[in-house]
């Protein structure tokens, strides 16, 4: 029996793999399975059995499909392939991982570049990667590691020193946790200056001459002149240091020191609310600073540990819509959010709105269909009312949009399409929470127009009165809305309306303290002169 067969025939394997299929969202089971497979397949080298390799690969892939934000397993996977000499797979895995993280994952970039340093021989090719990383994660508070690597490569691979100094000069302005390291480097470099010509590595010639009044071609005694020039450069360095130190301290004291988890956590280990609050405040702070790239990286950082809740996803999307005005990216973020967040309703709602705004009515339609399918074509009995109610609103909107062209408002009799009406009716009469029914009734009231009062009454109010299966009718809201429907039906005179309320509606109403009080309250506003005729 070869290794592959011995693994798959092992009872332990069946048990572990069964666990992952039964509880696909439980990280623990995946980890055990993976560890078991790696241990069984050791030694991992090029002699690995093809079937075993495929098994491990698919396990990684399945695990990462379920937990796309597990940065370390992406790295693990890539390194696994690297060990086996599959370099192109290695690149592919990292690229895919970065794509999942909106290209903004410090851990991924650093691990990736660390290997690239060794395997990418062409400097231009390597620096292209570094430049890309600079754009996405350069402003990360902990990106000191990245910058150190970058500087080292520049030192090693560049013939001239200019690029090295430009990068170092930029780093000086970034509030990094390890900012002082780079100031140390910079000061050392200043001390090492031997000649006036080297000054242009620290500042451009123009400013050197115009602002610092230092002529690099100075023809007098160059020794003391150079000493003065060094002082001038050190002076602005010191000022820069003070400003950046303050920024770093502020970020550290207010936020960074309070963040305990910087990596993905599965839904089984929810982070404490304080962590969420810190991130929310940190993001508000970042937004106010108005440095777009910093906002992006911080949003992505917050998402990694908090992807299970909707707060950050929504905040990210709102920021993209409000400040960046990038509706497409907001859409991408929201779609990703629907996949990963356990709280989906608000994200779905915003996505629906966004699709409407983008005029992608078909995508909206598909999304709603998908939602319905997710609930086994029975969204009307979906436990979550908010989800259901959002669904209904957008369905009605879609229906309005569809009928408009065909019937052009000539169908006053129906309030909403028959199919949707049935859904509402069904949910209204079934036993359920009062508040939810109130919201539905209120929604139906919003549909009232000059022509349809009668049908709203028949299809909704009368229907509920006749079929209601719980004690909903014993409470005030329904009757209040019912009376208001009549009161706002201006096709009748006031007397007719009041007469109808008193003679037709009230006799059907269960008389209890709550309902009577509500009706009296209504009467006090709208028809106090008839109040005694209520017989309340």
């Amino acid at each position: 029996m070869d290794k592959y067969n011995s693994i798959i025939n092992d009872e332990k394997f069946s048990k572990l793999s069964l666990n992952t299929t039964t509880y696909p969202k439980s990280l623990k089971h995946w980890e055990t399975l993976l560890n078991y497979l790696i241990a069984a397949a050791t030694p991992i080298n090029k002699t690995i059995n093809a079937n075993t390799l495929r098994l491990i690969r698919s396990t990684y892939e399945a695990m990462l499909f379920n937990f796309p934000f597990l940065e370390n397993y992406h790295i693990d996977f890539a390194l696994f392939e690297y060990k086996l000499g599959h370099v192109s797979r290695f690149h592919k895995i990292f690229k895919r991982a970065l794509y999942i993280h909106n290209e903004r994952s410090l851990v991924l970039w650093v691990s990736y570049l660390r290997i690239c340093n060794e395997i990418v021989i062409e400097p231009k090719q390597l620096f292209k990667k570094y430049e890309e990383a600079e754009q996405y994660i350069g402003l990360h508070y902990h990106s000191g590691v990245f910058w150190e690597m970058y500087l080292e490569q520049l030192k090693l691979r560049c013939k001239t020193k200019q690029r090295y100094f430009i990068v170092l000069r930029k780093i000086l302005e970034i509030p990094l946790h390890t900012f002082s390291t780079f100031y140390g480097l910079w000061i050392n470099h200043i001390d090492e200056i031997r000649d006036l010509s080297e000054l242009t590595l620290f500042i451009n010639e123009d400013d050197l001459l115009k602002k610092l009044k230092i002529d690099k071609n100075y023809s007098g005694r160059r020794g003391p002149y150079l000493a003065d020039a060094k002082k001038a450069i050190k002076k602005f360095t010191k000022e820069l240091y003070m400003v950046i130190q303050l920024q770093v301290m502020e970020r550290y004291n207010l936020f960074e020191s309070k963040l305990t988890t910087q990596y993905y956590t599965s839904a089984e280990n929810f982070l404490p609310d304080s962590e969420v609050q810190t991130w929310v405040k940190y993001l508000d702070y970042t937004i106010e600073l108005d440095i777009p790239e910093l906002c992006h990286i911080n949003f992505q950082r917050a998402l990694t540990p908090l992807s299970n809740i909707d707060i950050i996803w929504l905040k990210y999307a709102y920021w993209l819509l409000d400040v960046v005005k990038n509706e497409t990216m907001a859409k991408v973020v929201l779609i990703r959010g629907i996949e990963l967040s356990l709280e989906k309703i608000k994200i779905v709602h915003l996505l629906c709105e966004l699709l409407t705004s983008l005029d992608e009515i078909h995508t909206l339609h598909d999304l709603l269909e998908d939602m319905n399918i997710l609930h086994e074509n029975d969204i009307e009995s979906c436990k979550d009312f908010n989800l259901f109610w959002d669904f209904m609103q957008f369905q009605i909107f879609l229906a309005n949009s569809a009928t408009l062209s065909r019937y052009d408002n000539k169908t006053p009799a129906t309030i909403i399409p028959e199919k949707l009406l049935k859904v509402v009716q069904k949910r209204l009469i079934a036993s359920g929470k009062r508040d939810e029914k109130n919201r539905m009734i209120n929604g139906m009231m919003l549909l009232q127009s000059k022509k349809n009062s009668k049908s709203i009454e028949t299809e909704i109010f009368k229907y509920v009165v006749e079929n209601c299966q719980d004690d909903y009718l014993n409470h005030e809201q329904f009757w209040k809305e019912y009376c208001e429907l009549i009161l706002f039906d201006l096709n009748r005179t006031l007397t007719e309306r009041v007469d109808y309320i008193i003679k037709t509606i009230l006799p059907q109403m269960p008389r209890n303290k709550e309902t009577l009080k509500a009706i009296e309250g209504l009467a006090r506003i709208y028809f106090p002169q008839y109040i005694e005729q209520l017989g309340a």
């Binding site: 930029k170 500042i203 106010e288």
Partner: protein
């Protein structure tokens, strides 16, 4: 009205300048009069005493001044029985017995539950006017009603017994009456009664008296638990200790639950409690609630008494007493619909008076808006009553008259031509104007069904400054536009919320949440997309930006001042962003700091973009403030304290 004139009258006005010069203490005491401080009142009393010592035969001017002073104090605080006594004595000194008796009589009317004053009065009456038997009899009966059941009323009963014995009337009936009352000195009357009976050898009666006495003893023992805890049973301006109040309340609870068959006694204890506790709303509420529970009959004189009692409570209680006043208004409203025609005038007059008073004393409270609503409701019930069988035509003309009346009043108020003789116009102020406007609009829209006129009203009134911030007004406007499904108007209304229309955030949130649903349910994609690129589209950047009702409007929730930012650049005025308070407080709300910044920062530039030339010299802002500590912003004093000045 006379009260007001009296209170504002200057008692010293008629005095000679020479007299004023000679009596500085008296003048000072009067000018330092403070109706809330008992010490200041006592100082005047002393000053008056000194004055009268110096001028043993004062002239008319002095007499007049002293009388005015007493009348002023006693009209404000009729429960100060010591002042009444002093006033009576002075009146006797100034004039004659008759005047002083008249004063005492006034005292018993103003402070009808005082044993002291009644005893004084009856004593003077019986001693000096023994022939006025009819008058004495009526007065005695009246006093019996008012004070006879009080726990310490034995001086009064002694006086009556004494008088009856002197006039040789039979006292047996009276004794029977007395020994049933739980008095502090109940035993005294039993023994003297028994003595009288045994003198007359009425042995059966003695047994009866014993039985009654025993029963009464139990009662006295029961109430003694409460009576013994009463430390202060007279009126004073200093607040009563809460223990005392609690004791009264317990006492009353005990009586009303355990001895509800003794209304006379209960009433008497209520009346007594309201002497020291006359500023305690709880007891007033209790009294009136109890009173209504036992008086279910609907005759006019009882109604009159009830209204009077309420009015007295409203007069006496401090302005902070809301419950009692609202209880009164509720009673008036309820009684109005159920009572006979004859009582309606009384009720309506009292109602108007009460509402007027409430609007005056609560200028900044929600209560006064509620008062106006109540007034309009009552107005509709009383002056524009209709039944279901009222013919449509009649009803419409009646309602048209009602709206006309409202409109005239509103317009007169707005154009500052208020006619104070018209009750409604007299009641309108800036705080409750919206109630009437909303009522006018509601009637025009829903009853008269005049959409055109309704819109005219909206256009007209929305310009008025107090209505611009009125929740009620905009709520009905929103409702109206919803009913017409006018998306253009609705969109522009919702867009203006928080920026042009400053309304409470919670209200704005409600409207927006409602509108978002309304829009989805009633609009469609074509309407939406054409609205977006229409003339007032999202690409317009003037002040009246119309927001997109599906996405953008949501940004206003909990952030009503939200406005669309200019595209691309993020902030509208990026260069000045650092000057904003929000920026200065970023990360540490409440602490304003001018953080140093690099003004030509290169962090958002790619290092590659520098080619091979190094960046220039960094430039700074606020570098000199690097060691400055942030300013703590004291919002409390800034926003609250300063705004009051």
């Amino acid at each position: 009205m006379t009260d007001i004139i009296l209170i504002h009258q200057n008692a010293l006005a008629g005095l000679d300048p020479a007299f004023i010069k000679e009596n500085p203490e008296f003048v000072a005491a009067y000018s330092n009069i403070n109706s809330k401080d008992i010490e200041a009142l006592n100082t005047i009393l002393k000053a008056v005493d000194q004055l009268l010592k110096r001028y043993s035969t004062p002239n008319d001017k002095i007499k007049n001044a002293v009388e005015i002073i007493f009348r002023q104090i006693l009209s404000r605080y009729p429960l100060l029985f010591g002042y009444w006594k002093r006033y009576t004595a002075i009146e006797y000194q100034f004039h004659d017995l008759e005047t002083s008796l008249k004063t005492l009589e006034n005292a018993t009317e103003s402070f009808p539950h005082s044993i002291d004053l009644w005893c004084d009065y009856l004593r003077v009456l019986t001693v000096n006017y023994p022939k006025e038997t009819e008058l004495i009899k009526t007065k005695i009966n009246k006093a019996k009603q008012l004070i006879g059941s009080q726990f310490y009323s034995h001086p009064f009963w002694d006086l009556i017994l004494d008088y009856l014995l002197k006039t040789e009337s039979d006292v047996i009936d009276l004794y029977y009456e007395i020994i049933r009352i739980p008095l502090h000195q109940y035993a005294k009357y039993i023994s003297s009664f028994k003595k009288l009976l045994s003198e007359r050898r009425l042995n059966d009666d003695i047994k009866k008296v014993d039985a009654i006495g025993k029963e009464n003893q139990i009662m006295v023992n029961q109430i003694w638990r409460f009576e013994s805890l009463i430390k202060q049973n007279y009126f004073n301006l200093t607040p009563l200790p809460s223990l005392e109040i609690d004791n009264w309340i317990n006492y009353l609870n005990f009586l009303t639950t355990k001895h509800s068959d003794k209304p006379q006694l209960i009433r008497s204890v209520f009346q007594r409690s309201l002497i020291p506790c006359c500023f305690v709303e709880k007891i007033w509420v209790k009294y009136l609630t109890w009173n209504q529970s036992i008086n279910t009959k609907q005759n006019l004189s009882e109604l009159h008494d009830l209204v009077q009692l309420y009015e007295k409570g409203c007069r006496v209680l401090p302005q902070t007493a809301h419950e009692f006043r609202w209880m009164f208004v509720d009673v008036l409203e309820k009684k109005y619909t159920s009572c006979e025609k004859s009582g309606r005038t009384l009720l309506f007059t009292s109602f108007c008076k009460c509402i007027k008073n409430m609007i005056e004393i609560w200028p900044y409270r929600q209560d006064q808006i509620k008062s106006m609503e109540t007034y309009l409701r009552m107005l509709k019930i009383s002056k524009y009553y209709s039944a279901l069988d009222t013919p449509s035509k009649e009803l419409l003309s009646q309602q048209a008259a009602y709206t006309k009346y409202l409109e005239t009043s509103i317009n007169n108020y707005i154009s500052d031509r208020v006619d104070h003789s018209i009750v409604l116009e007299d009641l309108i102020n800036d705080r409750n104007l919206d109630v009437i406007v909303v009522e006018l609009i509601r009637t025009t829209w829903l009853v008269l069904k005049n959409t055109l006129q309704t819109r005219k009203y909206f256009n007209h009134f929305s310009k008025h400054h107090t209505l611009r911030t009125s929740v009620e007004f905009w709520a009905i406007y929103y409702k109206f536009e919803k009913s017409t499904k006018n998306f253009v108007r609705l969109n522009s209304f919702v867009s203006e919320l928080g920026t042009n229309l400053l309304l409470p955030t919670s209200f704005i949130n409600d409207i927006i949440n409602d509108y978002k649903i309304f829009y989805l349910l009633n609009s469609n994609i074509t309407e939406y997309q054409t609205g977006k690129v229409g003339p007032n589209s999202s690409h317009d950047l003037d002040s009246s930006v119309i927001l997109d009702p599906i996405i953008e409007i949501g940004f206003k929730i909990n952030n009503p001042k939200w406005t669309r930012r200019a595209p691309n650049s993020g902030r509208i005025n990026k260069t000045d962003a650092y000057k904003s308070l929000q920026y200065k407080e970023n990360g540490h709300p409440g602490i304003v700091s001018d953080t140093p910044q690099i003004t030509n920062t290169i962090i958002d530039r790619q290092s590659k973009s520098f080619k091979n030339t190094l960046p220039g010299l960094p430039t700074f802002r606020n570098l000199e403030k690097i060691n400055q500590t942030g300013n703590y912003r004291d919002y409390y004093s800034e926003d609250i304290l300063n705004s009051k000045q």
